[in-house]
Subunit: 474 residues, 2 copies
């Protein structure tokens, strides 16, 4: 008999719980180089489901996929000043290739703006070439010394979409489309609600005019920037001379955007939904949606045959029948893996042609379902679970948005509850820095539809026109 | 009106033709770093079709996908002696990370044996953990100074599958499965026939006991190694201590295999099937299977409406109706892109509710098909085209296998026709090297079911037991 490994309690030490769960559910492991991570098959299968959902949305929107090189010559990388200042400190640099020292070292892409736009400049010459919206599914490297699986790793997988447009307006619509698509995927597939908004000047992407973000609150009350969509304006097009002849024969610089969604999202998924017994996966992303767990003992063969029949009638499901493992151990395995629905099958179920249906999501009662009704019922259950998980997340988000009228209130919330704090801010970076220093809370976002109001800055008391959302960054 | 670019003749200068076609069909472009390539959307869409076909085969076989780090610490990379000797000269090495010089430089993976097996050693302890068959879709780097799009690039995309097994026999079955799966994909999807066989000792993978290969003949008579499957024996498991307790409680080293298929295959696809008018894509890999090309002039709107109706009834197809381009120019575009089937639609077709169906593959006559019969007929045509392309390739392969009884004959074939030459070889690496030096032909493979015969080496005249296939490497 294999022994059950103990999982630390999520409520007691969320960080220990997270690391132990990543290991026990076999989602990821550490690579031998500092900061690197192995995405194990079970974790990768979740990512494959994310990719499939997202790729379909991209293609529906007219974006096409392509692949650009991993290596950016340093001489090209340094051309956009703000961009390089933001990224240079976290790059990995190749200085030797084919046994020779390179004259122009190669930066391993931390993001692909420069390498893609160098080509855009060659490919775009007329309004007929626009819009050009190209997406890549690839790996990028941003140096980290301490790995925190999925959430902070030197190398991660993501997609990066890059649009070039003829007008500022059309460009802005693609920026909005980006963040709205991500929010939709987070809500409909991850069953995670969050806020969409604009980053402050100091928190935006290096090289962008505006960065839009989707941020969620983790169970320990921190704010997680979960994906971003950038309005790059004409910053890169002017630097790299990406211009086109418009319909009137005039030469113009293109307007650009970029948007990225990474494996960090898997970390969010684990953190947000998991509990003391393991992962809780939303059906739409679960690699295994239904587990069939036979009670082994007498009449094993007949019970197993019945399990196979159920599996066949469903068309998907996995049987957990390793006779070396006790029923309890196997239930534990199904729970730690976060499989949304499990069918417990003993001699009674076999004889009565039924299945006892249990749920991973807490608070849902077991149900006895007839064999003939299983396929239809299971489909219904999976939809119910997905909906309940999102409802739960919506409630959590709503419960974790608090308003602060005074800085004392602000500090009190940060000390006790955290989450998002709504407060007026004058938009002076000095106040932003002081608030962060004193409370650990940084500006997270300003809602897209934020209304101009008459208020005073939570920190300095000067005039402030907008309410911002603050929180402690994960 | 845009001008038609001239494509060099394939028969006159295949290399110029290839490079011009890659550019004009927008399959790929050059990256700014030496040896690197951009896979443009049209080329990447072909690769996506390859990935979908292959990934389904892998999953059916029980392999699972995962992702391992890009960076291999040099101290780990050098552990397997033969492996490092083979790959070290072509690596790219990261020596700076996060602004600091690294104590242990990082090798950018040229292949992932070392980084994966370091984890296998930790994950495998019992026979219950076996077989472990993990595949990755990723990018690898093998230093090249001169780019030849798809066929020779520093960075390329591929999949690498890595199996660990309890027995030598089971391991060998996976090695065979690998090359047979590749051959099936080449034949059924690429419509390219080739030979499957064993590489010689000097040509095998660095670290393998045996390498199996699938090789095809290019139109200029060269042999292209198109993918490989390796029997790694216990070479890596002994170096990295990947061992397991078998059912009897005894400790054993695992048996391993690896198999890879890369974007090089897109180069083969272009080379093998293309002609003086552009690409010719097999329907199963074509990103656009059917082009609808309206004759514009009078009654444009009605004709276009009819084209939309056809597109709708097919469920797939792309309309080429840019009024800035002449009918001939658009036909040329459809041809250069290698779209298998095109529907030419003028007022006559619109009035009679028909479509004139033309084919990209030479020698197939145009057909007039009624609107109501189009979906069914198009499906049939696509199958026919796919079959004809494979037939064509089979014939070409058969026509390009020649037997040489004497070294003079061998030299004569190499001077005039090339292709595969069958000849007895004593398996002495010295003869192999001399043959290559004098004729440019290297050993390509020995058929899997090659029979032991009594012969004499084509070069030295000593005893030789097997017929080998020779050819000039691409």
């Amino acid at each position: 008999m294999q022994e059950k490994k103990l999982l630390p309690k999520k409520s007691k030490d969320i960080s220990k719980w997270y690391l132990a769960l990543i290991e026990q559910a076999k989602l990821a492991d550490y690579g031998p180089a500092k900061g690197t991570m192995i995405i194990r098959p079970y974790g990768y299968a979740i990512w494959e489901n994310v990719v499939a959902a997202m790729d379909a949305e991209f293609k529906k929107s007219g974006a096409v996929n392509a692949y650009f090189p991993l290596f950016i010559p340093n001489s090209l990388f340094v051309k956009e000043k703000e961009h390089v200042e933001g990224f240079a400190p976290e790059t990995a640099v190749v200085t030797y290739g084919g046994g020779e020292k390179l004259k122009d070292p190669l930066v391993v892409r931390p993001t692909s703006e420069m390498i893609m736009y160098e080509a855009y400049a060659r490919w775009i010459s007329s309004w007929r070439d626009l819009p050009m919206v190209i997406n890549q599914w690839n790996n990028v490297v941003r140096w980290e010394k301490r790995t925190y699986p999925f959430l902070r790793t030197s190398e991660f997988l993501w997609q990066e979409g890059h649009g070039a447009h003829a007008t500022r307006q059309e460009n802005w619509e693609r920026v909005l489309w980006g963040i709205e698509t991500y929010a939709k995927i987070y809500r409909d597939f991850f069953a995670i609600d969050g806020l969409v908004g604009r980053k402050s000047e100091s928190e935006k992407f290096a090289g962008a005019d505006t960065t839009l973000t989707f941020e969620l609150i983790t169970p320990d009350g921190k704010a997680l920037q979960s994906c971003t969509s950038h309005d790059l304006g004409q910053n890169f097009s002017k630097t790299l001379d990406i211009s086109f002849q418009d319909k009137d024969g005039k030469n113009q610089f293109v307007w650009q955007n970029s948007w990225g969604f990474s494996t960090r999202s898997i970390g969010a998924l684990v953190l947000v939904h998991g509990d003391d017994n393991g992962l809780i996966l939303p059906p739409k992303l679960a690699p295994i949606k239904v587990a069939i767990v036979p009670v082994l003992g007498k009449k094993d063969e007949e019970v197993l045959k019945y399990c196979e029949k159920i599996k066949e009638s469903l068309g998907f499901a996995e049987i957990f029948a390793d006779s070396e493992k006790s029923f309890g151990f196997r239930i534990n395995e199904v729970e730690i893996k976060g499989i949304p629905v499990r069918l417990e099958i003993g001699t009674r179920e076999m004889q009565e042609k039924t299945a006892t249906v249990g749920f991973r999501f807490p608070g849902m009662e077991k149900k006895l379902v007839r064999f003939t009704e299983l396929p239809e019922k299971i489909d219904e259950f999976l939809v119910q679970v997905q909906d309940k998980m999102l409802e739960n997340s919506k409630k959590f988000l709503a419960d974790n948005i608090r308003e602060a009228k005074t800085f004392d209130e602000f500090k009190e919330i940060m000390k006790t509850k955290r989450g998002f704090i709504k407060a007026f801010w004058c938009e002076d970076p000095k106040c932003e820095a002081s608030i962060k220093e004193e409370t650990k809370a940084s500006t997270r976002l300003k809602l897209l539809d934020a209304k101009r109001e008459k208020g005073v800055c939570i920190y300095c008391g000067r005039k402030a026109e907008y309410i911002w959302y603050f929180g402690q960054a994960y």
